[in-house]
């Protein structure tokens, strides 16, 4: 209650009890709140702050919100991971009211003291999204938009967004930042209720059907994941994927990832960034660069013009050189024309010299040939002598052969004589020999016959 001597007087005329010390009252309030029934609440988690000893967040739904706190030890014991308390997570919490009374140096704070926490909706929703994401990916619907060519300097930009949303201003701010001031076509559509997805789909189809927009931006500011769920609609995503105009998506915060981010040509974290991405060329800088390029081209063009005097000078120098060459040629011709006689005499001397050399060469050649022929005649003569000697020798040999033939017994037998031999083949040259042999062989020119010697018929 505090020192009673320091208690000030109450407000004149007030029937309220007190005044009491605020700390005392705060403590009573804390005790009162702590006595309230402990309950379970559900909603979306937002603005999570983690300190060394406590985790703070807000639990929200469409009708209201409540600041919550949880001892860090209790939260860690749940082993949910950081994902459980990401903005937009759907949770059920259990606990009761609490009040931090504060002090002279610290602020009081009211909170719902959470002792139990369970994530529920997000898991089921994430599982559904994952299935659809995998289906679209498997069908190749993430690729077509990314293959479309995006104009560096679009003239007309279509924007699908909520009519009263902040995203509209952000898109305009982004385009202004780019220095872009072309034509923007707004296709307003609800961006968070159950009618949103079909309306957004129709707006995209209508914009593309005009054939007048170069790129389409789909923009929506932050919100709970439930609010952004329309951008995960299957029909919407399939429509975007097959659109022939590039779509740049900017839905929610950078932590949110809807399916339109996957199928779009480009996904940006904010509408401002999406607008800037729709115009890759910074127009203000582009104008300066074009001016710079024009100046540089002008400089190069001027250099060509500056080169003209140099070319004229070169032409003059070439002309001078040409005249010098002509003069030199004329001098040479004049020199030649002045000395034709010398030239003829020089040629005559050269020809005479050649003639003398030819004659001397001819003589040398005749002498050489004569000596060579004499040597060849000598050789032939010696060969003829040798051949005559050989002929004489051949004649002598022939005579010898004839003499030998004349003494050949075979020739004698051919003339009618007979050769008498005994049985042993020894020649019998006398009658006594024949008688002694008794049995003889008479060999005539054509054949031999055997003969027997009869003693009574001796003829002396």
């Amino acid at each position: 209650m505090g020192d009673p001597s320091l208690q000030p007087a109450g407000i004149d005329g007030s029937l309220l009890p007190g005044p009491f010390g605020v700390g005392h009252y705060a403590a009573k309030l804390r005790d009162y709140l702590r006595q309230r029934s402990r309950v379970q609440l559900f909603g979306e988690v937002w603005n999570v702050r983690v300190s060394r000893v406590k985790v703070y967040f807000e639990l929200r739904d469409a009708d209201g919100a409540l600041p919550c706190s949880m001892w860090r030890n209790d939260f860690d014991a749940l082993r949910l991971g950081e994902r459980a308390l990401a903005d937009g997570s759907q949770v059920v919490v259990g606990g009761g009211l609490d009040y931090y009374v504060g002090s002279r140096t610290s602020s009081p704070a009211f909170s719902f003291a959470v002792t139990k926490l369970r994530e529920q909706v997000a898991l089921a929703r994430d599982a559904q999204l994952d299935r659809l994401r995998k289906t679209l990916d498997a069908e190749g619907l993430f690729a077509p938009q990314k293959a479309l060519a995006r104009a560096a300097l679009p003239r007309t930009i279509g924007v699908v967004t909520g009519e009263g949303g902040k995203a509209r201003d952000d898109v305009l701010a982004g385009l202004r930042r780019r220095g872009w001031a072309g034509r923007i076509v707004w296709a307003f559509a609800p961006v968070q209720d159950r009618h949103a997805a079909p309306r957004i789909t129709a707006a995209l189809q209508d914009l593309a059907a005009t054939g007048a927009v170069d790129v389409i931006v789909v923009a929506r500011g932050g919100g709970s994941l439930a609010d952004l769920f329309c951008f995960c609609d299957e029909t919407l995503c399939r429509t975007v994927a097959l659109l022939n105009v590039p779509v740049i998506a900017s839905v929610g915060h950078h932590t949110d990832r809807t399916l339109i981010d996957d199928v779009a040509a480009l996904s940006c974290s904010t509408p401002t960034h999406a607008a800037e991405s729709a115009v890759p060329v910074h127009c203000t800088e582009g104008r300066a660069e074009i001016m710079q390029v024009a100046r540089r081209l002008s400089v190069h063009g001027d250099r060509v013009l500056l080169a003209r005097p140099a070319i004229v000078a070169s032409a003059r120098r070439l002309s001078v050189h040409g005249r010098r060459a002509l003069l030199h040629r004329a001098q040479v011709l004049a020199r030649l024309s002045r000395a034709p006689g010398e030239h003829v005499a020089r040629e005559r001397r050269r020809l005479h010299q050649g003639l003398r050399e030819m004659r001397a060469s001819g003589r040398r050649r005749v002498l050489d040939e004569r000596a060579r022929i004499a040597r060849r005649a000598l050789v032939l003569d010696r060969k003829a002598q040798a051949a005559a000697l050989d002929a004489r020798r051949a004649t002598g040999l022939q005579a010898f052969a004839m003499a030998l033939a004349a003494h050949d017994p075979e020739r004698t037998l051919e003339r009618g004589y007979a050769l008498v031999t005994d049985r042993a083949g020894e020649v019998v040259t006398s009658a006594a020999g024949a008688r002694a042999a008794s049995e003889l062989s008479l060999r005539f020119g054509d054949a031999a016959v055997d003969a027997t010697v009869c003693d009574g018929d001796e003829r002396a």
């Binding site: 072309g182 923007i184 076509v185 060329v281």
Partner: protein, 79 residues
């Protein structure tokens, strides 16, 4: 007989890329007199094209609703 591909209109990005190549070639000092003249002539044409494209998105922001655009397109098609 094979049909030839229709010539695509020159875009800002192609024109600016070509300009960059032209400037690079001119700055190299390797281009002869005739080539320099031709590059300067081509470059001036491209500069005019880029400037016209930038001019088209620099006149002032024009905001239309989709319905207005459709009406305008239909009127243009009907006339």
């Amino acid at each position: 007989m094979a049909m030839s591909e229709p010539e695509q209109p020159l875009t800002y990005e192609h024109a600016s890329a070509r300009l960059e190549a032209i400037i690079k070639r001119l700055d190299s000092g390797e281009a002869g007199l005739r080539e320099t003249l031709e590059l300067c002539r081509e470059g001036r044409t491209l500069v005019e094209l880029c400037a016209a494209e930038l001019e088209a998105v620099g006149q002032g922001l024009e905001e239309l609703r989709l319905d207005d655009l459709v009406t305008r397109l239909e009127a243009g098609a009907g006339s």
